[in-house]
Symmetry: D2
Subunit: 357 residues, 4 copies
């Protein structure tokens, strides 16, 4: 009802405000007997955390995941360097302590609504909010998605499925190469998470440029799923692409989703469209081919410039960012897009186990 869970058979529930004691979550539905590699989970978290790329925020957050349940070791309690934990089939509870929270930085925002943020809408909905760091509306929540997604990834990897996202657009710089011609293993060795070196170079310059100007830039994250078996997706409402669309639009700052030819399909003829790849789904069900989709992100609303806004009493005020924010979120959004895709696929893999008698 309240919307803090995602998935049906493989289900992630998250909690936590940005500057509260901790954020965390519960994965319910992970089948028993899965070998879980904890350093791999922490590695994914490291790719998302503030400070992971020089192009992002200067805030450093260590974001160490602590497993509270659901994973088991003969040797005793689960530890973060164990590569052989076994899932028990019970809910996997985890938390990440909030360490670097400088709540006093936000005192001036207690009665002020930042432009382009959820401050006002959140208060309109609930009548109050935790204003420190955006509270629960902060993108910090996505760290929990990365943990859940990393577990999902290890489950679907058993079936040979891989999920790889990358930055395909920053501002008006668009990667020219289709995904089939990219070396996707190079994504995380690029600061901007773009596997095309020439485009990456120009994206980096564009980000540094707007940062210097106290402004921000939007972008696009693309994602490719390989090894997907045919038959995943639950018609007619829980189609694979519909669930991916929801997953992606549930990420902070996203404004659009397209699969296969996407909005480009609107300008095509049937004879032309039928001849090409369909993006990996037909009728909402995976067709055995590569699945690929794009996610549009708006430019971060917090910029290092004075901006007009209003306070709780509707007075005009001026708001200025602190400079500890990302000038462009797409590099750090790459592991989040992957995580959400892994969650959707894990969910549909399990759901599909009941399709035949």
């Amino acid at each position: 009802m309240r919307g803090n869970s995602f998935g049906t058979a493989f289900r992630l529930t998250t909690f936590g405000e940005s500057h509260g004691p901790a954020i965390g979550g519960v994965v319910d539905g992970c089948p028993a007997g899965l070998k879980v590699d904890m350093p791999a989970i922490q590695n994914e978290l490291d790719r998302r955390r503030p400070g992971s790329t020089p192009l992002g925020t200067a805030r450093k957050e260590s974001d160490l995941v602590e497993i509270l349940s659901g994973l088991w070791s003969e040797a005793g309690q689960p530890t973060t360097d164990n590569r052989q934990l076994i899932s028990l089939g019970t809910p996997i509870g985890f938390l990440i302590r909030n360490a670097d929270a400088k709540s006093e930085d936000y005192a001036h925002l207690k009665d002020t609504f930042r432009p382009g943020h959820a401050d006002r809408t959140w208060e309109q909905k609930f009548g109050l909010r935790d204003h420190r760091g955006g509270g629960r509306s902060s993108a910090r929540e996505t760290a929990c998605r990365v943990v859940g997604g990393a577990i999902a990834r290890q489950l679907i990897a058993q079936q040979g499925i891989s999920v790889q996202a990358y930055v395909s657009q920053v501002g008006d710089i668009i990667i020219g190469t289709p995904h089939t011609e990219l070396d996707l293993s190079a994504v995380f060795s690029s600061d901007v998470r773009c596997p095309d070196p020439a485009a990456a170079e120009r994206m980096t310059q564009a980000i540094e440029h707007v940062r210097a100007e106290g402004d921000s830039l939007g972008g696009v994250v693309s994602c490719v799923v390989k090894g997907l078996p045919p038959g995943l997706g639950e018609p007619v409402y829980d189609r694979l692409d519909a669930d991916l669309a929801k997953a992606m639009l549930s990420i902070n700052a996203t404004k659009g989703f397209q699969i296969g030819n996407g909005f480009g399909a609107a300008a095509m003829r049937g004879s032309q469209h039928n001849a090409g790849p369909q993006g990996g789904v037909l009728g909402g069900i995976s067709d055995g081919g590569d699945l690929f989709f794009d996610v549009a992100f708006k430019p971060p609303a917090t910029i290092a410039r004075p901006q007009p806004s209003t306070d709780r009493s509707s007075n005009a005020v001026t708001v200025e960012g602190t400079g500890r924010h990302d000038p462009c979120v797409v590099p750090r959004a790459v592991p989040v897009v992957e995580a959400m895709a892994c969650l959707v696929i894990a969910d549909h893999l399990l759901r599909n186990r009941t399709s035949r008698s």
Copy 2:
């Protein structure tokens, strides 16, 4: 689990194969005491049905809705011309008989998979399928969405909310005018469902042109929601825009969704994006402004030309459409997009009743 229901508090479950005895559905969660205007529901259904516009298929389907439960009249059983039925708070069951089904037209498809259709994926999932008219993968299922959406519309209209969609692109013809400058009351008086007369004229020609060539065209449906109160949307996963994205991608033939500036936001700077409208949502919660979004549709896969495909034994075959299909689906998709939007909003209106103590 299996995916034939949509919504949480206002929930539509549908059933039915295209050429089976009937299609239908159940609306669970409509509050008691709503006055329901049956002719208005039938009117929305009429706008979707084959034959509703000269630009669509030549098939005629009368698509008469029959109410089985949940609506009440002092005078006796509910009838389709009653404008004063009252909802009981109980599930509203309804059906639409399948009348014009020419199943023999599909006999040649029993062992053949049409290109660009769900025939093969459906069979890969379930091991068998009803091949007649696409079975449950047929867009005929969307008639049930229109019925559910029409009830939802009457619920949200009580709060002053209106939902209006229109065709904004057909092939490479794109409406030039923003929605704020369009006369949206003119949508259904245009055969192509485009309120800009000049664009409508060109779109009509483009559709007639591809029809004559035995081909088809894609397009975009845009949608505007006015009167939405602030506070709707359930962070962090069931955001209003995330649920709209899922709703739209669950419609047959859709390939993309964007809200507000959408993919255009990727190329913008923060200073620029903050200054404009956000599309009606901030942080996934409605902000009290107009909500607007676009939905991309691919060109219909069935065209009146021979196309290469495969049969169940993976032999190469040639498939040819019968000519009874739409050359472009967007005109008839307009009421479906509206219906799904109404369902999402009705659901979130009810869910939001529990946000404060």
Copy 3:
């Protein structure tokens, strides 16, 4: 949310008022490829319908089920005498027309609340109600459960699971024999649905006696499930016994549920209780043994005597039953208890498919 669906992976949604156009339902989640025997479904429905036993109401309702979708025949539309329909994996929609509704019989109840009925509470909840025959609060709704349960039974029978209920108590007459010593195949050849001939004879007399006096009697239905594999049940909330308890208490007129030694276990010592059978579940998970439970039914509230009650304006009134009601519901409740048990087990069989990786 509103509560008209039951089950998670195998899910029944029902609709319909007692005297509206029809009652019906949708089974979502039945796996594809199940052979469905329609006469067997109708047979179960016949066992529940009014008039099925001389000990019940004198009302005759034919209760013919019509399949609208989800079942498939090479030969054409599904028919009620086909023993070889195949499930498509799509939702199975069905309806039962309301034929024998004598709505005028209920005109005097429009503003009056019958004692012991849901008339008043229903109106307190929704602000209005369909008073004819109890509207949706009528036990007529259970016919839809029998249809859903009959499909579930055919699914679980594939795994060798059988479900058999019987009347074990009517008023103060209690069957003396444990279920292990009863010939459960004889249940439906007994009018009172009791497989112990001596007890059945006394129960029959007791029912005829209260009928003659214009009164009614309560009773107990017991149920045995054989062939259940170990491992069904989802700890910690969706235990097999917890879901059975909910299923049974959701049936009209039920007041209690117990499994294994039930309330008798409260008076036992651990050394004694451990030594006996546990009722088929341990920790909420089936243990591979026979599962058995009991369901208590109150005496029907409608009796052929004047009873004091109140009307909508809280005036004291006298209400009298028409004599067309059951003096004891347990004989006709036997197929309903079985149906709900079949639904729970089918659901858990499917859910358990995701327990291991």
Copy 4:
């Protein structure tokens, strides 16, 4: 799907193994703006914890709840002695560290299944288990229900609803007085949680007697809900009594549930039953009167005597309890029964907000 969540609009998800790092949970759906009294929550937890009554286990567990999110204080992070925390409308995450876990006590159970426990069924379901202290099948999980229930209690108390349980039977000692004549405020001043002093005295002796003999006893917990408004409960499946039945049968060691006259109703006549109270529900909807129900608990399976069992290889073995277990669970089950009842009522209070338009 996997069953670790309870409730729809007010939803508790729990996690944790008995001897893992921690147990905990997430409450999603608590409306914003509720004043939360933390000491009151801890107080309820104290009533459930081992060592809370001299009649229970000798194990001491401090069971301190730590709030991780969802509750807010102007003064900074939420603390356990704050009586004025405010709910944010966001998920309330919490945990309880496992402190007193003597895992080595359970080493001998790694390959052995205790009689009357879930050891074997859990392993049959998942293929493996955490054997230490019963892992997730341990009643320790109910501490999380008490936390969730304590929050729910504070929500429903706003509407004037109170929930009070007590021990009404231990072994063959049954309280003679109906709840209407008991001083329910005296429950927790009695070690055995029975408000009838004479019965309490005899129950205490009975428990001490079986403890001395190395055996255990079953019992019954009764519960009274006062101040319930009419109209709660969602027909036809999520009736208030059906959801209570599920809630109670989901508690460890329960074997039965009855409401109102319960199994006693089976022996009654309609004329007699109609004249008395209905237990607070009619047709599954609250009627505005006191709601009362009983829950049967079996005797604890772990006793301080050698008992025959089997190991993983099906060899016959002898198992002996350590003496650190409760000889009778009902005194410590009282707060758990209350917690589950509070959760059900909070859920239905919120759900009912959508019943009328």
